[in-house]
């Protein structure tokens, strides 16, 4: 139980770090440009990501991941990733602010993942669309409306 609590706190801190990251990148975009901020963040992120990959190389090789050839498309996650930093930098510095950016981003994520699952896109297991799937997104939409309603 104790260790579960410790990891729970770590997960919450992880989420907090993501919010901090978006805030910092949008600050950088004010001093440069949205595209420049994304470029710098990806460049510096590559360095640390390579370091982490290099350090965990041995342990990762022994755990057996799926073998076989990877569809080329899955290598391109960095493309939408590049747009993520650009778009967030624009919206955080707008009337929506950081909480609005995070909340609306969640709606987009949920809607997109429901769609991808319903169509069985990108190797995801095809799941028949069920109206109950709309319940969670309704909560998220309502919460987001509450957050951005304060900006009008």
């Amino acid at each position: 139980m104790k260790s579960i609590n410790r990891y729970s706190i770590l997960a919450i801190i992880g989420g907090g770090l993501l919010a901090l990251m978006i805030n910092i990148n949008s600050q950088l975009s004010l001093e440069t440009s949205a595209m420049n901020a994304s470029w710098i963040a990806h460049g510096l992120g590559s360095l640390l990501a390579f370091g982490l990959f290099y350090m965990t190389k041995e342990t990762m090789d022994s755990s057996s991941p799926i073998h076989g050839s990877v569809p080329k498309l899955y290598y391109l996650g960095g493309l939408p990733g590049a747009f993520t930093v650009i778009l967030a930098s624009i919206t955080v510095n707008s009337a929506i602010g950081l909480s609005g950016t995070l909340a609306l981003g969640l709606i987009g994520q949920l809607a997109c993942s429901i769609l991808c699952e319903a169509l069985g896109l990108f190797g995801l297991e095809k799941k028949k669309f069920n109206f109950i799937d709309l319940v969670p997104i309704t909560f998220v939409v309502f919460g987001s409306i509450l957050i951005i309603s304060q900006r009008y």
Partner: protein, 147 residues
């Protein structure tokens, strides 16, 4: 305002697609190699776009080095996420991460300027966290029914 709302929704779509593709890559190569590929591909892509648009690289004008931390945090998060995920499972991890993200996001959000506004935003976050919880709960239920 409407334009920004649309851009923020589009941002979520980009996050989802990036996570799905990267998650698939991680299932072949592990989280750290996938994260490295993700970052370097994004960097190469942006470098090419900037070359094409003749946009010169610019760096921070202030002496505050803090603004360069963003990229490192993104890569570091992958380590936290895979550690927590292995202990708590994806459902709990997702809910706790969103809670931390929305809560800390509200603290950092300098656009909040009255206690009434803060209260309504906290209420909004509670709805969002409940929504994320329901999404995970439904997914879990459907998975156990299917098996």
């Amino acid at each position: 305002m409407t334009l920004y709302i649309l851009l923020a929704l589009l941002n979520g779509v980009c996050i989802a697609i990036s996570r799905i593709w990267n998650g698939q890559l991680a299932s072949y190569y592990g989280a750290f190699k996938a994260s490295y590929v993700n970052h370097i591909i994004g960097f190469i892509f942006l470098s090419m776009v900037m070359l094409l648009l003749l946009e010169p690289p610019q760096f921070s004008t202030s002496s505050n080095m803090f603004v360069y931390l963003g990229g490192f945090i993104g890569a570091f998060y992958v380590a936290i996420n895979s550690l927590v995920m292995s202990r708590l499972g994806s459902t709990n991890t997702m809910i706790l991460v969103i809670t931390g993200q929305m809560g800390f996001g509200l603290l950092l959000d300098s656009s909040t300027n009255s206690s009434r506004e803060l209260l309504i935003k906290v209420l909004g976050i509670m709805f969002i966290v409940i929504g994320v919880y329901l999404k995970q709960a439904i997914q879990h239920k459907q998975a156990s029914l299917a098996s």
